[in-house]
Symmetry: C2
Subunit: 397 residues, 2 copies
Amino acid sequence: MGVVLSDFRPVYLTEPVKQDKLREISIRFAEFVATSNGGSSGRSAANAAAGTIRAAWEKYGVSPKHIDSRRISVLPDTEAAKDPADLDFATIPFTSTFLAKAGGPDIDDRLAIFREHARAALEKMYPDVDDAPGELIHVSTTGYRLPSPVHELVSERGWFHTSVSHCYHQGCYGAFPAVRMAAGSLAAAQSGLARAGGRVDIAHTEICSIHVAPDCLDAEHIICDSLFADGFIRYSAFTDDAFRSWPGRGLEVLRYADTTIPRSLEAMTWRPIVNRFEMTLSIDVPRLIAAHAEEFIGTLLRDAGLDLQSDKGDIIWVIHPGGPAIVDLVGSCLRLSKDQIALSKDALREGGNKSSATVPQIWDRILRDPDIKQGTLVVSLAFGPGLTAAAMVARVV
Amino acid sequence: MGVVLSDFRPVYLTEPVKQDKLREISIRFAEFVATSNGGSSGRSAANAAAGTIRAAWEKYGVSPKHIDSRRISVLPDTEAAKDPADLDFATIPFTSTFLAKAGGPDIDDRLAIFREHARAALEKMYPDVDDAPGELIHVSTTGYRLPSPVHELVSERGWFHTSVSHCYHQGCYGAFPAVRMAAGSLAAAQSGLARAGGRVDIAHTEICSIHVAPDCLDAEHIICDSLFADGFIRYSAFTDDAFRSWPGRGLEVLRYADTTIPRSLEAMTWRPIVNRFEMTLSIDVPRLIAAHAEEFIGTLLRDAGLDLQSDKGDIIWVIHPGGPAIVDLVGSCLRLSKDQIALSKDALREGGNKSSATVPQIWDRILRDPDIKQGTLVVSLAFGPGLTAAAMVARVV
């Protein structure tokens, strides 16, 4: 049995906002938070007064050289269209909640916003009320509450026989375990273990913007808050039989693998805290991943009957653009040319890091490109806490 | 390809404590929290003074008639062995953290305790440092942080080629999506999509006790705090080929399914809040589930070539004992005899509701029972938010 990924449908809740404008908005938002909470936090007020906020953002914020624009669900288009100097953070629903405390809304309030935006995205992904998949895998690293937004969708639509699965808290490589789950479900159904539907859907709702920390001026927080964006995409995994009657192009899954990178446990952490999900990120991450990329990808390609050095020129490479450094470093370890990493760098430039939604949005772009021929090999690679590296070999069909 | 579950290994971090003793400990703990925090919470102190705490626990607490004992990881054996009147909550690590505030530790501190206990349980599950599975699926509804306890295990053991999967935030029915994932992985590997290992492990670490709310005296909180327990179990999913050379007995997976129950979204919720994961539970849950049990199980059995009414007498029934009412109600809807639901009621009596670890611990018990013959059919059913019902038909092999 073969498995083909197709019918990619990215959806958007807001327009993209230029990175330099977002920086200015972030600085003014942080100043608003600091001055609003001066009474309870002398440090914050002092930061604002001394221009520390602007200096920190200018020092640590990811440059518009790397990211052109990002989509931020908690900033409505009408507000994003204004001059940042004209923004009144006390009247924008999300930012106004930082008036009462510098740490902003508690985690349950932030996850209530997650629910609202995730539901809106799912409604856009499924405009057809009769479009019930046999299984719907919800992928998110940025929000969990039960019933989940996908429970709500299937319940309200009356899709009572759609099996709901959650692929949560994996990190930026979330698409890879989701594809594994989908392929596994299709294969198990063919073995008679469940009703064979021929199609399993995967829906990513990543709302990184609810976890911002405008009261934190250290490098890690400012890097995260200027790097991550919100991303939403739905796609389907078909059995090759079911795909035959499907009109679109697809990515046939040939082989996947993942690995834990030695001595890297503390390099990246992601955990629920009182008022958000909190990330820590060591500057060693790109180096740790790059050091193991060649062996990991080389082995995967051999398992797929390919050879890294002789075949790499015929392959389209998708390297999760976790940040500006990682794509260059992994590309150089795999001895890829500038052209071969351009697609990944473009994805970062055009939208920032949308966590697990990033790689599927690149897959969508590949399938929409008429210059990419049937049969072209696509090798994708992403990373996350563990550190974990996950990869997949696929072919355009 | 067939899939067989075997090598069940429940592990325990603490001894069971009698339910009536746990009630007395809970009452005294709640009194300690109320009086310790009298300054900041007039309501709590007043509750304690008026004997409201004891009255509420006597009214709402799950009776020793339904639960004989439970295991509570945050209460060390040395403390549990004492007379409750002699307990000094200010010196027990977990309970002492409620001295500073009635709400107890923040969510990140509670999840740090989760990490510690989950790691201890995983170490006990894997005494052999060379026992690396091809994939290790971590199931939990009670704690998530990255790197996960399973990331830590595989990294420290040097199991770099063990694929790590997280099956999180599903609820009490978590074993069912985990088995689906494991069966899917084995089937997909047979299709050549990944290296075929022949064995996928599933490890449940459910630490419900870290989410207690001794400052809440309403029915829902007291029911939860007197019903849930901690549970840990590891087991393996083998391909039938790999199982042939395995010495133990197993459960051959024949068929599984799940369904979302109409108009039941708000009947059960589970979400991270500032200081714990918070559950809400409607008294309608047993009725809502029971109303759909016959159709759901009837359809699953037909898909497996069986008939509910004519075959039910030959089947061993495992009904997740979510609480005292649900097993009776589901049993009566399926027209099962008292004997047929005894196994599920015994599981509740002997250990409380251990969330997703409950059903696998019953499977283990079935396989250890020499009176249960090869070929016996086992039908298992569990529930969780959505509301979701999940079920599996298996056969003792």
